[in-house]
Amino acid sequence: MNPLFEYHVQQTRRQFFASVGLSFGGLALGLCDGKAQAPAARPAVHPALPGLPHFAPRAKSLIYLHMNGAPSQIDLWDHKPGMQRYFNQDLPASVRMNQRLSTMTSGQGRFPVAPTKFKFSQHGQAGTWVSELLPHTAKMVDDICLIKTVSTNAINHDPACTYVMTGSEVPGKASIGSWLAYGLGAETQNLPAFVVFTPRFPASGNGQALFTRMWSSGFLPTRFNGVALRGTGDPVLYVQNPPGVTSDDRRTMLDALSKLNERNFERLGDPETHTRIAQYEMAFRMQTSVPELVDLRTETQRTLDMYGPEATQPGTFANSALLARRLIERGTRVVQILHRGWDQHGDLPNALRNQTNDTDRGVGALLMDLKQRGMLDDTLVIWGGEFGRTVYSQGALSRDNYGRDHHPRNFCMWLAGGGVKGGITYGETDDFSYNIVDRPCHLLDLYATVLKCMGIDHERLTYRHQGLDQKLTGVEGAQVIPDLLA
């Protein structure tokens, strides 16, 4: 954490204790008799596990931009100029190799190749090929490590989303954000360690439901659940004082109760009591810190302009991206933005344009903003979906319109920031973006690499559940990919 900010937090904390004597939780608990307890004995709200990080981290925090529904790698990142001449020809059997299809196209009579209708051009010093749909992200390619050969296991959204978030298709495992919160804790005392946004998405988007299991702690204790900030109404449920309770009432309650603290309690030495007091303190502070977090008046006009006109509209992607930066600044460990609507089985060109219009500016601005503040050095950003999309068209195909089915065999994700090599493209697919031909990167290999950036040996971050030492990266020996690391 920024030392200046740390100082600020400590000051705020001191002022708070000086003014009311103790937190609300401690005070309410003080209505019961007990032995005195020294405030200094209270633990940090989000302590790290002993021994973690395993080694010096390159990235201290993670921002994960998940495009739910599976963005088309063919129309965004995986440039295949040679594909144009195959327009409307059947995908050669030698390429398809009788692989599993989803039920949505398994009954289709033929599999005609649908080249992208979008123009690609080279960007940055690295000359990375990027689709015209991503002009803002394209400006940042020299900070981006593009991986073209990510693969996953599942072909339908639900298991694939569960897999991409937890490393397992079977519900009940811990999400990547929960693992990091569990292992590394967080530096903030005022905000959750792991925060999730689920911004709104274009009406043309084919939106799959999101499940809390995607940011759930699974078998880990529930204090490691992601806290989903809401785009409408209150950002945190129950964060407002109830109707009829004014802040004066609260003040009266706190002041009256503060007198009780000479006989503060700690009845039976139950360590959970300390935790509970700490959580009441945090809940109390969230009543202030959350409104402060979402109050963007302290941002400069220049910053707001970078994120675009939606920056100040709660519930938008741009607003979530800006809040992600503010959260990381305030010591939150992991922020995830789950943006929906990327499931283009039909009418892909129009719908995908709307999806990228909704997000590209925010993504580019987030990277630029982090970079300008020197935060990109120790913040890792991930962008991706739960699988890719097929080269062949689902439904009617024309030069201007087509759809694409699910394709788990290869898709594009990118990393940027703390610990990864910017301006590179890793791995290669065949001419149809249908099979991997060079340097595969299984999703769990990618996660092993991400954990490495965060100072964690993925083999050693474990939790015993149902007789097994569970890991984010599973039991089949995921590998860190050194070529991605700076």
């Binding site: 339908n156 529930t222 659940n225 129950y238 509970r276 809940a283």
Partner: protein, 711 residues
């Protein structure tokens, strides 16, 4: 799928070794304590025999004395009545209940309290919930669409009734695993088999054969966890890494389930409902015979025509698969047929769209005619259940657990480690009827046997865990080598032998609750046993979310005690942003204040007030709830409408029921914490209400630790 194509040949070489290990087990894996049937141990000798009240205490005290630790002093009577009421009923004691017990100086006062609670119908709501956690109970399919299961509540009611009736545990097991085979005429036993189908179900799965396989795996895994306390699911893709369970063992266990059809709408009428249905159905059929015949005659040519057209639209390969007689279809053809069958279904809409103009008019008239009788058409109550139809599909050992990689056929059989000579022989199975293979009946008989080394131990340990805060085996669904060792192996065996002699769960409650061990306070005077491994004091327990909500309702006098029936939908605050499709509040306000066990259990949407309090994810069997402590909990208890309403109503109640400030403070403490305030607390509260509304005092009391913890 996990590995990239380049690695596949290596995997195939490697995997031939995966299924070895069929010979007799040896070494530590063979000699693990839990594989040997429990033998009733002699009671240990203790020095302070006066402390003991029943044999449990002898086992506990002997270990304490050996470690030089004195048991904690007994809990106060106020603590005891609160503890046992929450423990058995899940609600706070009323002041009258507290007074009655505190003032009852008869030696059997405690026994009477325990017995009274064990016969309360609300006992089943409390202990049934523990079983529902194990059964991964939910009332929707989960996954992407999370469709409701409108009849799933019947299983919940079955469980509550079973606990209330003290249904012997061996019978409880038999009904859930094989109720259709063993008690085919008992509708409750059919409902019980729904246990196997309670897991998530991907209705839109790309591959319907895989969907069925997923359900088979889920019921195999859950049977292992819930009844046997074994993580057999780990052996699905490879021999278990830590336990003596092979992949072949896993599929042998699964083979008990393969003849079952998974019914989502199995009729479960009792005799009276069935007779009534038959009578009304006969009348309905007679009354509509004419109009139905006319409709059929008109639709038949259209149906044929539409079917032929749909068939012609299929590709040649698919057509050939459908034309091939079922018995001769290849595995691929079977998959094709399963995945494309729905394309050949001729729906009522198809027929309606195809009708000529004239026929359309006539058809509409006839349908109108038929519709007039709808009110007279009876329906049977249905439930999710297993049913056999006489077909016995083969069960295959699947390489890496993948359906398309069958290795060899297997027959139903016990886990090799628990078989004679530790060899995996096929089980001996007697067919019960042409449509009842007897497989699950045999499985139930094997599991529910007093000689089974795991069944009784696992269940008494679960009961112990809920009463004492931690199991004698701390990993309640894992009794294998990787599970925790029992802290008191002799006690566990003694309890298991006691239990399997009658299989009465209520008898076990009585034994445990009447022990001196249970009646200890939580005071840790000696500080020699920080984790309380010796049970030399009571463990402080945090109440579950459901119990916190039920308490808020009960204390403010709003709890609707109605039992059973379809799930209810209390309102969810608009700030939660839940769509009306997911949750529509029940129209009847009385349904908003039912006990939490009756809240509709949506797999993908945990009730927002309960969620921060560790309500388990119903995708998996949950043997032990988390006890997290989080800021969202604090916010829920400070600011949620449930708490605000309870505080207001309680303040009104204090005003009405107590004459002055002192009496009101006393009543507030008694209702919320089950005890009278100390002098200091009384003085502080007086100062507090001088400045703040009474509802704020109530709200503060809902937020003190003591409210959600049991001492």
């Amino acid at each position: 799928m996990r590995l990239c194509p380049l690695l596949v040949p290596a995997l195939l070489l490697f995997s031939t070794a995966l299924f070895a290990g069929e010979s007799a087990w040896t070494g530590a894996k063979a000699n693990h304590w839990a594989w040997k049937p429990p033998v009733r141990p002699a009671l240990p000798k203790v020095q302070d025999a006066a402390w003991t009240r029943n044999p449990i205490d002898a086992f506990i005290l002997a270990r304490l004395e050996a470690a030089g630790v004195k048991p904690a002093p007994p809990a106060t009577r106020e603590q005891l009545i609160r503890r046992v009421k929450f423990d058995l009923i899940g609600l706070p004691p009323t002041p009258a209940e507290v007074d009655a017990f505190v003032n009852d100086h008869n030696p059997d006062a405690w026994e009477k309290v325990v017995d009274r609670m064990l016969v309360s119908p609300h006992y089943g709501e409390r202990w049934g919930r523990h079983w529902l956690d194990l059964a991964r109970f939910a009332e929707s399919n989960g996954y992407e669409f999370d469709e409701p299961r409108p009849n799933a509540w019947r299983f919940r009611d079955y469980v509550i009734a079973a606990f209330n009736a003290d249904k012997p545990y061996d019978r409880f097991i038999a009904e859930q695993l094989a109720g259709d085979e063993l008690y085919p005429y008992d509708p409750q036993a059919l409902i019980a088999t729904g246990f196997n189908l309670l897991g998530p179900d991907m209705t839109d799965a790309a591959n319907q054969a895989q969907r069925r396989q997923n359900t088979l795996e889920d019921m195999t895994d859950t049977t292992g966890l819930a009844f046997l306390g074994l993580t057999v699911g780990c052996a699905r893709c490879h021999n278990h890494k830590f336990e003596p369970i092979t992949a072949r063992d896993y599929f042998r266990l699964q083979a008990f389930f393969t003849p079952a059809e998974f019914r989502r709408d199995h009729p479960v009428p009792d005799a009276k409902e069935k007779a009534e249905y038959d009578k009304r159905m006969t009348a309905y059929l007679a009354a509509t015979a004419d109009v139905r015949a006319k409709l059929n005659a008109m639709e038949a040519p259209y149906r044929k025509q539409i079917y032929d057209k749909k068939f012609a639209a299929l590709t040649e390969i698919v057509q050939r698969a459908h034309r091939t007689p079922e018995a001769e279809r290849s595995a691929v053809q079977k998959e094709i047929v399963a995945n494309t069958a729905r394309k050949l279904v001729v729906s009522a809409q198809d027929v309606a769209a195809a009708l000529t103009k004239d026929d359309k008019a006539r058809h509409a008239v006839l349908q109108q005619e038929l519709k007039k009788f709808d009110a007279r058409k009876p329906a049977l109550p249905t439930a999710m259940a297993l049913q056999e139809t006489g077909k016995t599909p083969k069960t295959f050992l699947l390489r890496r657990g993948e359906l398309r990689n069958p290795v060899e056929e297997v027959q139903p059989g016990w886990l090799s480690i628990l078989s004679p000579d530790m060899r995996g022989e096929p089980a001996s199975i007697k067919t019960i009827a042409p449509t009842s293979s007897g497989r699950r009946a045999a499985l139930a008989k094997w599991i529910a046997s007093p000689q089974h080394p795991l069944t009784a131990r696992v269940m008494v340990n679960r009961i112990w865990q809920h009463h004492f805060g931690r199991g004698i085996v701390a990993s309640p669904s894992d009794f294998g080598l990787r599970g925790d060792r029992p802290t008191h192996p002799e006690l566990l065996d003694w309890l298991a032998c006691e239990f399997s002699s009658t299989w009465s769960i209520k008898r076990m409650h009585r034994l445990m609750l009447l022990s001196a061990t249970y009646q200890q306070s939580t005071i840790d005077g000696v500080k020699k046993d920080p984790n309380n491994a010796l049970f030399g004091r009571s463990n402080r327990q945090r109440l579950e979310g459901e119990i916190i909500r039920d308490s808020l309702l009960a204390i403010s006098g709003r709890l609707n005690p109605k039992m059973g029936g379809p799930g209810v939908f209390p309102p969810i605050p608009p700030e939660a942003g839940v769509s009306a499709k997911q949750w529509k509040a029940s129209a009847d306000g009385a349904d908003h204040v039912r006990r939490s066990v009756y809240i509709f259990a949506r797999r993908n949407l945990r009730f927002p007030f309960l969620e921060p309090f560790d309500v388990p994810d119903s995708n998996q069997s949950c043997p032990k709830r988390e006890r997290s402590t989080t800021a969202p909990q604090a916010l829920a208890l400070l600011n949620s409408s449930d708490v605000i309403a309870a505080a207001r109503v309680l303040a009104d109640r204090l005003d009405k029921d107590a004459p002055d400030t002192d009496a009101r403070i006393t009543l507030a403490y008694r209702l919320t914490l089950g005890r009278t305030p100390t002098d200091t607390e009384r003085r502080l509260s007086r100062e507090f209400v001088a400045q703040s509304p009474w509802s704020e005092l109530c709200r503060a009391l809902f937020n003190v630790n003591e409210f959600i913890y049991l001492d």
